[in-house]
């Protein structure tokens, strides 16, 4: 059985089939990229997995558990974290508190304990703080700890979003275009981090990406999508040679 599996996943907006009977599987510890032209349904698949959209039909399984009907906040609790294409950070909070929100799924304290800030809460906070610091070190975010998000440049925000997802100690991470808006150097850093996430932290990565150089560098397997349907699956080289994929990008 696969680690993560989508079966005949469909999302229809009226007559428009954004995602049309897509099936794929992610093995534990691999980096799987989803590529495809604009409007192919890549981000829609992510929004289906994180339950922002409800699938028209089809099922999603994670660790052999059907998560199709789970409420959205439970997805994170199961260990699936995600980033957003357009960056969804908490603008008017510091980097540190953004990252601490990533720890939310590990918080166990009750409201009344927090009102009194009992020693158990304090101890928990220190654990959260230590975990966050490990992620800060992993992604070289030390200079920004106490800065407000609203004052930071785009490239840094992109990394902070990745950091926030990592703070939840996910088993599976969904990266929605991790390199969009980044320059060549920052994209290079990103590719190293994605590899490190897999090798050092043991996180499984599912990624939507347009930048083929990044896809080639990090992916174990690639899925090509067009008009909500799977065109090809395989290694990066195989998929890029596939006639349907070439036709989709360049026109037949």
């Amino acid at each position: 059985m696969s680690y993560f599996r989508a079966e005949n996943l469909s999302l229809h907006f009226g007559g428009l089939k954004a995602v049309d009977a897509v099936s794929f599987a992610v093995e534990k510890g691999e980096i799987l990229s989803i590529i495809g032209p604009n409007g192919a349904g890549k981000s829609s698949i992510f929004n289906l997995i994180s339950r922002i959209y409800r699938p028209t039909s089809g099922r999603i399984f994670f660790e052999d558990r059907d998560i199709t009907e789970q409420p959205p906040y439970d997805i994170a609790r199961l260990g699936i974290a995600r980033t957003f294409q357009n960056i969804e950070l908490f603008e008017n909070a510091t980097v540190l508190s953004n990252l601490l929100v990533g720890r939310h799924r590990h918080s166990t304290t009750q409201l009344w304990q927090e009102l009194l800030f009992l020693p158990s809460v304090r101890a928990n906070e220190k654990v959260h703080r230590r975990r966050v610091e490990q992620v800060i070190e992993f992604l070289d975010l030390e200079p920004y700890r106490d800065k407000l998000i609203s004052g930071l440049p785009y490239g840094v925000r992109k990394v902070i979003e990745l950091a926030r997802a990592l703070c939840s100690e996910p088993k599976l991470i969904l990266l929605d275009e991790p390199s969009s808006g980044l320059n060549v150097e920052e994209t290079g850093d990103m590719s190293f981090w994605i590899r490190d996430m897999k090798n050092e932290l043991g996180v499984t990565v599912l990624m939507v990406e347009h930048d083929m150089s990044l896809v080639n560098r990090v992916s174990d397997r690639v899925i090509a999508l067009n008009y909500g349907r799977v065109l090809a699956t395989g290694s990066p080289a195989e998929v890029q040679q596939h006639p349907d994929v070439v036709a989709a990008y360049l026109g037949a």
């Binding site: 929004n47 994180s50 922002i52 409420p71 959205p72 906040y73 439970d74 997805i75 994170a76 609790r77 974290a81 995600r82 957003f84 294409q85 357009n86 960056i87 969804e88 950070l89 908490f90 603008e91 008017n92 909070a93 540190l96 508190s97 601490l100 929100v101 990533g102 720890r103 939310h104 799924r105 918080s107 304290t109 409201l111 927090e114 009102l115 009194l116 800030f117 809460v121 304090r122 906070e125 220190k126 703080r129 230590r130 610091e133 609203s150 004052g151 785009y154 925000r157 926030r164 939840s168």
Partner: protein
Amino acid sequence: MRFLFKTDYEDDIRLFPHSGYVVSYGVLLALLLIAPYVLSSYLMSQLVFVCIYATVGVALLILTGFTGQASLGHAAFLAIGAYTAAYLQKYNVPFPVYFLAAGLLAGCIGALVGFPALRLTGIYLVIATISFALIVEEILARWESVTNGNEGMRVKTLSLLGVTVPRDSPTFYFLCLAVLVLTIVGTLNLLRSPTGRAFVAIRDSETAARSMGVNVALYKVKSFAISAAITGFAGVLFAHKLSFISPEMFTLQLSIEFIIVILIGGTFSLHGAVLGAIFIVMIDPFLTYLKDDMPGIIAGIVATFGAGTQGAANVQSKVAAFASLNGLKGAIYGIIIVLFVLFEPLGLYGRWLKIKLFFQLFPLYKRATFKRQKIYVKSERNR
């Protein structure tokens, strides 16, 4: 300027980041403790109102400032607290019991208001909370067997552990101060723990909060309940301070005053609630002073510029007539809100921070430091 060298994770958690805070807040507390023995009874009475308004301000900040859910219905929660106290008093329930009961009842009703509010945002939520406040006002006026209708209810003198505490005694002031301080400390505790961070997350991006595992609906309801409960506690003190309550005290006007408290104080920090409360409580005597003295002063000025006695008297009566116009106070409040939103959206506390930074950085201060940036448009699709 002081640079903090953090050596422990505790440094990010503690309430007072360094000894300077302990000293300044210690001095403030000492001043507040000796206030009843120094200030006139009128100013003491105003100070009690500051404490009550600031408590409501903190409650509203939790909901509006930190969770991002606007409410124009907090007068209703205050009324629920006040009437619960007055009603239970009739059955000789002791103060601690009806104090807690008032907060609990207001909190439960706050949670109930929170549920329909889950589907509403922005201006629609404001309308919903206004209608809730109007409903409560109407119930208070009509449910005569409990609330005594429009005739209002007397509130007996507070009796705490067998000792009577008159509403103008230092003990009553200390009680209000204690409630305010406990509210602030509790709120600060909340803000440095997961619940508070979840509130802020919901304010800034519900989508992201949800995908980080925050149960948005649950936390919105929690925020409503906490805010309403604190307002209910304040309502008990409010009832005792006024010693008489009637439905027309808890109108939309009062809810707007609470919004002014946080808008003028600053919506991003608890300091704002206290500063805003001082402002709103002190502006009333100031306006009365203007109303009484302005006509005479203007007439004097007109006279010195060569107008005759007849002309000056004419001007004086016209200014006096203008000053006693109906609704002038509401108009002044409106103008104040508009001016603050336009020119100082960070409120009085934001202004204070700017002044402080100006002196810290003295020759190097840039006005652009506090300029709000709006560069990246967040996606509205995933709401």
